[in-house]
Symmetry: C2
Subunit: 602 residues, 2 copies
């Protein structure tokens, strides 16, 4: 039977063969997670995703979330699905068991999210934002707050949201105007209007905890005057049960291109003057505190996009294997064949395959760095992993979401006319994934983060650390006959990327800042391509060694496919990347030099 | 006030400055269309498009076409819009006035479609398919049929459709199974089921003429046994009025990603044994006859996609000019500025601008070749224009629709979170445009047409003719100081494209056919990029000369913008294209060599 959502062999390859996840169990922290247990967990979550969550995806799109008189209702089918996510403790598997988690490695949690987000990303968003919101309590809350909120949130009894955006404060949060007035009892009264709040209201949980950015009266203007507040939908009684309404009113939900199964809410805080919030962390440090969460949420967005791409790929593959149309090219036999035999369809499938594989490896690698950082014995080692995470996050969010949308688009194309209809899920996957390049920092902001911040941070140490890590893979691959030329090609691209990075980095700090940043998105794209080349080479290098060592028949095809993936990407995509880097060495200033009026339209 | 749909200055530039459309009026055939008349026509159609048609776009998406008990209803607002299209004779402006046309040049008709499709492509599709269906009557019908059908169709009193696709016969029409049985009176009884029929049923016109491909009993299998039939929804009385039902039953409409305002119908022919069709043209020549129309329909699809892209660009531009968010990069002033000031937003706007401009020029150029062919004095001249049309159609359909979808995608990104909501039209424009790479021959088929057919046709003459035309522009541009280096860059790309074409063309005819065609889509992309470079250079060359000659103040900014467009594309996109051509010179065979099972998913 055809697999859906994610290819299990590929997930296993990444977990065990590329990142040796089972090795972590040698450490006491992850002692419970040996290979057998990991296998069981992935099998269980896959079963849940395929049998219980996936069937809610289409209804989430078609019925969607409804708004009436201040209340949001989710599709009926969501209730059972949410209960199952709670029951299996799938919402915060990496957290401490005492708060309702399973103490699992981040890498393994990514495999879980791979399946669950691929099954219904709109539904899972309620969970991932709850996780993020609870993390803020864990990091900045008092012990009393932790006792009240953490377990309820990590187990999905209560949900959480993040209230950042306002109509005039999107990418520029420093412009927000929601105010917090100090009350005598140490709480704050909040007043303001937030928009685009994912899960801002819903009927899945008995309470909703809004982590809210607001400005305390008298605080400085801009981003230095923003504080973080915990604002429950229902005030919490001393016994921890939800009490009276806290004057957080949902005033509407957005009609969107996709993700209809996720409520995107407008919220009015303190319309009746009775919205009470508790300061989390320090006054005026709210933005920095919120940003502690950002790496996590950005990785989730990348994962969400990749999961849609992975699902689209498997659907397209299954369709291509079963849809008969047209004779074999160049054959005298007029009999129709499955379209997987047509070269252009193979080209599309291959393109989808290599991106899904490369992106999966990249995201799991970032999660794996989190685990290794957690286990690191020295500050230096910790720093190395944090540096890798920091430099890769803009790619894991920006590059991955851009490419995932392209993969989903290609999924539609493989289906031809059928792909444009709602009969198949590929058009929904594109619509659902299309938000990913936008939220949690637009991909333009990711590109600025990479070029303007990460590239030059610590005198370029993050970038150097990444290059060293890549070089390690290349050096190993050079010793493997079957992938030697591929390794050399990746090495050439790395050298050029280094050159381009130096060039643009210097330009960004010169009088030509605007010109540099007009090319930031192309630099992110080129960097991501080279990282894909690295990941695919890494995979192929392992696979080639296994083939040379005499792989079992059932694995051989998979391994050969890995070598082909690397070959395809490195010979047909990386030359294009080299061209892109040529362009960056002569970065065009036309976009910033052109007069505003010359864009026309007036 | 901001312009919508299409930038009038740009449309005028293409019509008059790039293609000297007014010059055609020196010829008797187009004597009525001097500059003043053309201006009036464009102004009138623009007014109609903006004031009357555009307001029907959103309702077309939200309400859409409805199906109930065999009948399709269109949104109420469509009725008036259709009546206005009829009234202004906008549905077949290039046709002979005696049949309800205006005898207009094709180039001018493209400007009309630019505005009308950009206002509501779903609505206009009813019209363009009617035009195509009527053309088949004009080309292959008897005089009696012309008398009955032509005027009614060209004026939109009746509509027309094309019944090609069946559930097992999509890209491979040779597999179709609809049958036609000869009746004693010379008519045929048709039986079969067609799907994906745009406008297969609707309530805008009093009759619908289905141009239907079917196989006469006993005809050869495959594409050589297909004939073309005229099948009205209502049989036509001797006096030309619609009579009794002709047993063509709409059995449902597709739920689609977009284009909800266009009915995509399943039709059952002859379910009661009483569907009568008239043979059009010769028996068993149906496919070839239908293909006479294909160039026209493919150009329409490219235009439809480009019109969506153009509209998305102008919306994004207006948003970027008015949306305040974040301070100026590198400025000490914390005050928010319009996002058009942010380099990455400018990069997106510039990208959208250059593609819309380049694509507009390409499509109008193809239409202009039609006009020049029409006026040609010699067979040789006629052939030259036909060759240019033939070689450019796969680009005008395939490349243009691919890039248009990307432009629409970028339009969403400029809007950020707002772009994902239905509050702004950009997400609809993407959904509506997404069909264009699929229908009228998928873009994979366009790529095969270019590489497998057009490239080698007449020993490469089409390609050589195109190159000569491009060289002409390059040579002229080389004499213009301001664009000299840009001309050299385009020339370099042309040389490389020639090399790549030779290489892949040979490969396609070798034992490596499959490998060649696995790279056909990339070849189409590279060819399209070079053609864009040519068109943008052409524009810049004219603009630079006007600047040098002392342009009026009101034109100067526009002309400077043209030079910047060419500079942007040629310095930041064409180097990427060179990389793509490098990849093609070492065309990867990985996609065709990989084992089917190695794609995974089982």
């Amino acid at each position: 039977m055809a697999q859906v959502i994610a290819d299990r062999r590929d997930v296993d390859f990444v977990l065990f063969e590329q990142f040796q996840l089972d090795e972590l169990s040698k450490n006491e922290v992850f002692a419970d997670f040996n290979k057998k247990t990991i296998d069981m967990i992935v099998t269980e979550v896959r079963g849940l995703a395929v049998k219980e969550i996936l069937p809610t995806m289409k209804v989430g799109d078609h019925v969607g979330c409804k708004y009436e008189k201040g209340e949001v209702t989710t599709p009926q089918e969501y209730k059972r699905a949410w209960a199952l996510l709670q029951e299996g403790e799938w919402l915060a598997p990496t957290r401490d068991p005492k708060w309702g988690g399973q103490g699992m490695p981040e890498t393994l949690a990514l495999a879980i999210r791979d399946y669950l987000f691929g099954a219904n990303s709109a539904l899972l968003l309620f969970g991932s934002l709850t996780h993020g919101a609870a993390r803020l309590v864990e990091l900045f809350g008092t012990d009393a707050q932790k006792e009240i909120y953490l377990k309820k949130m990590y187990t999905g009894q209560w949900s959480g949201t993040m209230l950042l955006t306002e109509s005039e404060a999107g990418s520029d949060l420093g412009a927000l105007t929601t105010t917090a007035t100090r009350n005598p009892d140490g709480t704050f009264s909040l007043t303001g209007n937030k928009i685009f709040i994912t899960g801002g209201d819903q009927d899945l949980t008995e309470n909703i905890i809004h982590q809210t950015l607001a400005r305390i009266e008298g605080a400085p203007a801009g981003s230095r005057g923003i504080s973080l507040f915990l604002v429950p939908k229902f005030r919490v009684n001393p016994d921890g049960t939800p009490g009276e309404s806290n004057d957080v009113v949902c005033t509407g939900i957005e009609e969107k291109m996709g993700l209809h199964g996720s409520s995107t809410c407008s919220l009015a805080l303190g319309g009746k003057g009775s919205c009470i919030g508790m300061l989390l962390g320090e006054e005026n440090k709210g933005l920095a505190e919120m940003f502690v969460m950002m790496n996590e949420e950005r990785l989730v967005v990348g994962l969400q996009a990749m999961a849609c791409a992975s699902s689209s790929y498997l659907h397209a593959l299954e369709f291509a294997r079963t849809r008969i149309q047209g004779p074999m090219l160049g054959s005298k036999d007029a009999k129709g064949v499955a379209i997987i035999n047509h070269p252009d369809v193979r080209r599309m499938l291959m393109t989808m395959k290599v991106y899904v594989e490369g992106m999966r490896s990249l995201l799991y690698f970032i999660a794996n760095c989190e685990d290794k950082k957690h286990l690191a014995q020295s500050d230096e080692e910790k720093e190395t992993y944090q540096d890798l995470i920091d430099v890769l996050i803009p790619l894991g969010k920006g590059y991955v979401s851009d490419r995932s949308v392209q993969v989903c688009d290609m999924g539609i194309q493989v289906f031809g006319g059928y792909g444009y209809t709602s009969e198949y899920p590929v058009e929904q996957l594109l619509r659902d994934a299309r938000i990913c390049p936008i939220y949690e920092g637009t991909n333009g902001i990711q590109a600025m983060d990479l070029l303007g911040r990460k590239l030059g941070l610590k005198k370029g140490k993050l970038f150097t650390t990444l290059m060293a890590k890549m070089q390690h893979t290349v050096s190993e691959a050079k010793a493997v006959e079957a992938v030697k030329p591929l390794a050399a090609a990746v090495e050439g691209c790395m050298a050029k990327l280094r050159e381009v990075g130096m060039h643009l980095g210097k330009m960004a700090m010169s009088a030509e800042t605007h010109k540099a940043f007009a090319n930031a998105a192309l630099f992110l794209e080129a960097s991501g391509d080279v990282v894909m080349g690295w990941m695919l080479l890494w995979r192929a290098s392992i696979a080639a060694q296994k083939i040379a060592g005499g792989a079992k028949a059932k694995d051989l095809t998979y391994y050969q496919g890995q070598v082909k993936s690397a070959e395809f990407f490195i010979t047909s995509v990386l030359p294009v990347t080299l061209g892109r880097m040529d362009a960056l060495m002569n970065a065009s200033g036309a976009a910033v030099e052109i007069a505003d009026e010359a864009f026309g339209g007036k």
